[in-house]
Amino acid sequence: MSILHTVNKSPFERSCLDACLGHAQPGDSVLLMEDAVIAALSGTAFEGKMADAAKTLKLNVLGPDLAARGLDPARVVSGISVVDYAGFVDLAAETKATNAWL
């Protein structure tokens, strides 16, 4: 079974996202939340990295955190799914463990 990795820090400020992507195994899920949601947007310096990661990982971003910051879900990089809190619970339930890259 796979693991759910959560990342909550901006990739512009901390290296948590890089560390997560460097260790996650093919088939794992990643959820971008809180200040990490900026990484999900197209047109940022991280777009290429996220598009690459989407080839082997199931990438998700928390919708309420996008809305809080005025970031348009329609601008999310293709291959990243926007989920709500119920979707977060589903992700946690369908993986054997959660790894929070704080």
């Binding site: 909550n8 820090k9 901006s10 512009f12 400020e13 809180e34 200040d35 900026i38 947007l41 197209s42 047109g43 940022t44 310096a45 777009e47 919708g63 309420p64 955190d65 809305a67 809080a68 910051r69 005025g70 970031l71 348009d72 601008r75």
Partner: protein, 126 residues
């Protein structure tokens, strides 16, 4: 006699580098800025790195249970705080443009931001 009584006006710059809502830095700096308005100082606000997200249009944080303080930036004009500077490179790195911002600002280069900081008497970064 202290600086305030003698009418000394210093150049203050509040430098915002953190995104809003994830931590309390953005709101705390905004409160400092509002307080500073009461002291008739020459106040400058800079938004760079993730700080540019503080003045992103369309913030609706009700869904994460956080107060939406972003409209307060629009009220700064009423306190005669009108010197707002945004770093162009920081916007570009985040796929944003000046149209994404909820207040009128002056967009300047990183190099010019550095020069502007050097002209200040007091710089507070968070």
């Amino acid at each position: 006699m202290d600086d305030m009584e003698s009418g000394v006006v210093k150049k203050f710059m509040f430098v915002n580098r953190k995104p809003p809502h994830g931590t309390v830095y953005a709101l705390e700096v905004l409160e400092m800025v509002l307080i500073s308005a009461a002291f008739d100082q020459d106040v400058h606000l800079a938004f760079l790195d993730d700080g540019v997200l503080q003045i992103k249009k369309g913030q609706t944080p009700a869904g994460i249970g956080v107060k939406n303080f972003s409209p307060t930036y629009r009220a700064l004009e009423g306190y005669d705080i009108e010197k707002l500077y945004v770093e162009a490179e920081s916007l570009a790195e985040r796929g944003l443009t000046e149209d994404d911002l909820l207040v009128d600002v002056e967009v300047i280069s990183r190099a010019d931001m550095g020069k502007l900081m050097a002209e200040m008497d007091v710089v507070l970064t968070a």
